[in-house]
Amino acid sequence: MGQEISEFGKVFLFLAVGVIFVVLGFVTSRLIRPHRPYTEKLTTYECGEEPKGSAWVQFNIRFYVVALIFIIFDVEVLFLYPWATIFKQVGGYALAVALVFLGVLTLGLIYEWKKGYINWVVPTPNIPKMPTKKFEKPKSLEKPKVAEPETTA
C-alpha cells in the first residue's frame, strides 16, 4: 500500500460525501414534491405537437468519424505525457524523438485535412432557384451624369 493509493482513497471518500449530498437532496425533494402523472403529461416534448415516433434513430455518421479520429489523437497525446515529464533532463535528444513521433502523426492530420474528413460538412440542400426576369431600366430613371467638378488649384 503506497502513499498514492491513500491519496486516491481520499478522492473516493470525497466522492462518497458528494453522493450523500445528492441522495439527501433527492430524498427531501421526494418527500415534499407532488407526484401526479397522467398520460399526456408524460409524453415527450415536441413543441406542442404529438411526438412523431421514437427518437432512437440512426444519426449522421459524421459523429462517428469524429469519435474515431479523436481516439487516435487521444492516444498520441497520452504518449506525450511521459515524454514531457523527462524532457528537461534529457534535452535535445528527447526533442528529436518527439519530432519524429509528431511528424508521422502530423502526416495523418494533413491527410485527413486534405481528404476533408475533419471538415464538418454542411449539407447543401437542392434549393429551387427563384425565378427572375430581367427588365431594362427605363432611360428616364437613370441618373443623369454629373460632370466632374474641375479641381481648382
Binding site: 432512437w56 505525457y81 511521459p82 523527462i86 534529457v90 524523438v97 508521422v104 502526416l107
Partner: protein, 174 residues
Amino acid sequence: METVSFILFSFLGALVMVGSIGTVWSRNPVTSALFLVLNFFALGGIYLLLEAQFIAVVQVIVYAGAIMVLFLFTIMLLNLDDEQALKEKFDLQKGFGILLGGVLLVEVLYILGLKINLPQKSTTLTPVEIGEAKNIGRELITNFLFPFEIVSILLLLAVVGAIVLAKKNFSPNT
C-alpha cells in the same frame, strides 16, 4: 496493510467480474456498454493497487473516456436497441466466436502449463518504479525507442484505416 490491499483487490476483482458478466448478459446494448465502462474503471483501480498509477489513468482516459464513447456512438448509430434484428445473423458469428475463444483458452492454458518465458525486453526497473510517468518516459525514449516510434506509424495507419472505413458510407465533398 496486506489485508487492506487484499480486501480492495477482492472488491475490485468482483467489480470487474460484475462488469464483464453484465456486458455479456444485458439485453440493452447501452447497458452492456456501461457495464464495460464499469469494468474498465475497476481494472484501473487494480492497476492502482499495483502502483501503476500512470497506466491506471491512461486506462480510464483511453478505454473509458475514448473507446467507449465510440462504442456508444456506434450503438446509437446502428440503432441496436432492437435486439430482434441482431438475432438472425448471429449463428455463424457465434460459432466462429466460440472457435476463437477456444483457441485463446488453449493458448492461455498452454502458456500457464508450460511456464514459458515469453520473449520480452528487459528493464532494470522494479515494478513499482515503472509505475511512475517519469520512468515510463525514460524507458520509452531509450530502451523502447523503436517501439515508441513504430506506435506513431501504427496510429497513422489507424487514421488512414478509419478514413477508408468511413468512406463507404460518407463522402465529405457531396
